[in-house]
Symmetry: C2
Subunit: 320 residues, 2 copies
């Protein structure tokens, strides 16, 4: 399909446009199983049908991402969907990314999830959210070589999601209390494959026990709307001590943001972005100032986001 002449693809019928959110995976102690969606930043994607077979991709942003659907995150996800929709000849995807690839806040998941949700809306919602996660994971495989759902699931379901199991897929939506999210993206590159490679393959049982105490505490805190418990549980004795070495300023950000009022936080995904959760907007603003101070002093370019948890996931903004 990669040798389709894109220029010949003509849209038929309506075009569906969605906003697809950034997401924070791992959530400190919830490595590989927890993630949440945020209200900013987000990507905008549009999908329409065409009689030209295959997936036809048009990028309307600065990132120069591949347009070969098998090498494109959205494309791979749409190919998986098309495989289960034999009546559909082809799809045209237009993508305008605002979530910088490699930032650690689910840029690839936003591309994959947004594309399949838009296509599903176009096709009369014939697929379940779980189906859509399955399709979108093919996009994650293009991005990182691994089918994982801890960004995809929150992007599609909204809120916090628990991936209890990947095989078989078992997604548990967890409705959190109101939480403000401050994110800083120091402009360095941390490749997901590097961040994964430095992890040890074994962990001490006593550390694993601490970790599952924290995970259980975090899930209980979110469901019981117990902010203090959420804060106490946002500790990671296994992954963070290893991965944080790749992120300049990490320890200062964590310590000083908590002193400034954050409940807690840590590495977003595999980094380099760092997120902090706060109970109030005022705390979240103070946290943002701390983050800016730290990276100004280090002299590293950065970008900050002050947002909230997004409880609806990918949103249809135009289905006309």
């Amino acid at each position: 399909m990669s040798n389709q002449k894109e220029i010949t693809a003509k849209p038929i019928g309506k075009k569906v446009t969605v906003s697809s959110p950034a997401t924070v995976a791992n959530m400190v102690c919830g490595f590989d199983i927890l993630g949440f969606a945020v209200n900013a930043p987000s990507d905008v994607l549009s999908v329409s049908q065409t009689n030209e077979p295959g997936i036809h991709i048009f990028n309307e942003d600065e990132y120069d991402l591949p347009t070969d659907p098998e090498k494109n995150v959205s494309g791979a996800a749409l190919l998986a969907l098309l495989d289960k929709a034999p009546d559909v000849k082809g799809l045209i995807l237009t993508s305008k990314k605002q979530i910088k690839p490699g930032s650690g806040i689910g840029s690839s998941a936003a591309s994959a999830a947004g594309a399949v949700v838009a296509a599903n809306e176009l096709l009369g919602k014939r697929f379940s959210n779980e189906d859509l996660v399955q399709f979108a994971m093919f996009g994650e495989k293009v991005a990182s070589g691994v089918k994982h759902a801890d960004n995809i699931a929150p992007a599609i379901y909204g809120g916090v999601t628990l991936i209890r199991s990947i095989f078989p897929l078992d997604i548990v939506p967890i409705k959190p209390p109101e939480l403000f999210v401050t994110i800083v993206h120091p402009q360095i590159e941390v490749r997901t494959s590097d961040a994964r490679q430095i992890l040890k393959h074994t962990v001490l049982l006593k550390d694993a026990i601490k970790q599952w105490g924290n995970i259980a505490g975090l899930v209980a805190g979110l469901l019981k709307h117990d902010y203090d418990l959420i804060g106490r549980s946002l500790e990671d004795v296994i992954i963070e001590p290893v991965r944080s070495i790749l992120i300049p300023g990490f320890n200062d950000v964590k310590r000083l943001c908590k002193e400034a009022g954050a409940l807690g936080g840590g590495i977003s995904g595999s980094g380099p972005s760092i997120f902090m959760l706060s109970k109030t907007q005022q705390d979240a603003e103070a946290v943002e100032e701390v983050m800016k101070d730290i990276y100004n002093k280090i002299g590293l370019d950065y970008h900050t986001y002050l947002t909230t948890i997004n409880n609806e996931g990918v949103k249809v903004i135009d289905n006309g």
Copy 2:
């Protein structure tokens, strides 16, 4: 204090009598962090004050447990309490155990928790539940050499409890939906120290991730009253495969009880008892029959209990 002449201790004032429940620790995937209390069996303990310094123990059961308070589970717990109540000279404890020591359903925790709750009632409830857990853990140390709270906490708080952390102590009560509990106690001895010794000190990261997915799922299932999720989450890839070897018939019990309608279950504490959770009494009865069949066929003595989760913990039955 062990050389007090017990015969000289005379009670002063009122006597408080409590019923102290059996408990199931670990809860399959929640090794060392989760536990729950059941409505049967339970121990009966009475505490009154005396002018004779120290703790004076009278056993009214068949188990011939030590009466030296430093070697007695209830005694060690009461000594810790007495240390924080300098105005109290001495306490008399009468204990009538119905939970067989070594059965794996929190016999020592019932002794320790019951004693301190009774004493606290006697002394005008001057201590918090968290204080009481701290005192009672001294009893667990006498019993197993380790201060752990995964039986003590549910015995005192009732319901399901999460021990997020032991140092500092962080107990999170989790109110479960109605659940029927079937327990079988095959009459063999599994020493806690042996059950602990055979555990590996390291675990594979990928297994730890599976485990914390299940723990998060179990906590979410309990809080969301999602029975299917509870059932799916009652899997343990780390502890059970090792410890179940010490329990004859374990694999048959687990498989056939689930076929008979149980949501799931596993080793209670460090065994040898096995528990199963069911949504209905009918399922729990079918599960009990399966357990009986298996141990009748093996030819091993056993005892079964069909009960429910106890949501109030140690209960004052007479404070007169």
